[in-house]
Amino acid sequence: MRRRTLLRIARKLGKPWRPIPPGLPRFPHPLALQLAHVAQWFHALSDTRRLHILEFLSQRERSVTELHDVTGIPISSVSFHLRVLRDSGLVDESRDGRRKYFSIRGETLDDMATLTHKVGPGKHVGTCLLSCCQRT
């Protein structure tokens, strides 16, 4: 690509999408990391198979083979879904000899309930970048 073309593209990219009014600052969110965590929690529960597994785990801790027996999901899939749940912090893993047991971490579920309660209508969290939040 010619240098002139590249420069033109770079100049276009540098400009904001539309001039931003003074009351509304730009994107970088102060809670970017926290937001990523929250998105991961919800992603972990956005699959019917994972919800099925979670329901069985809510009773007591179980191993992969037990979950395979009760849900009928193939072992490799159970392992995959448990990994997604573990990485998001919804499920804890403990080892007993050669077997791994998985149990639900109640605190994360509490945090999710708290968040959904906080963002209910008329219950502003006060962390967005609007002028309404900065005045108070």
């Binding site: 937001l35 019917t48 099925h52 809510s58 009760v70 639900i104 509490d110 959904t116 209910g120 209508p121």
Partner: protein, 102 residues
């Protein structure tokens, strides 16, 4: 109790950083796409896409006022999500599985 695919649909709608921010902003008051677009600093088409995902899952509702669409949060669905997360907590078995215990 809602079925699993409906629950998965709700959680999928909130499984994105932009959509969580949109929900957070809507919790203050109802807003139009123009405000969301300026604060999040993303293109209008993307804001509309995210709003459509949230609307399909029932997390937000919309209202037409002349040429503008106003979006508002649906408190009932958020309450149901919170209820679901409480129902699967350890020791609070939902009792709907096909095991001998149930």
């Amino acid at each position: 109790m809602s079925n699993a695919s409906q629950v998965a649909h709700w959680f999928h709608a909130l499984a994105d950083e932009t959509r969580i921010q949109i929900v957070e902003m809507l919790s203050h008051k109802e807003r139009c796409v123009c405000e969301l677009e300026q604060v999040l600093h993303i293109a209008q088409s993307r804001v509309s896409f995210h709003l459509k995902v949230l609307k399909d899952a029932g997390v937000i509702t919309d209202r037409r006022d002349g040429r503008w669409m106003w979006y508002n949060i649906n408190g009932a669905v958020l309450d149901q999500i919170a209820t679901y997360t409480r129902s699967v907590k350890p020791g609070k078995h939902a009792g709907s599985c096909a095991l001998a215990c149930c």
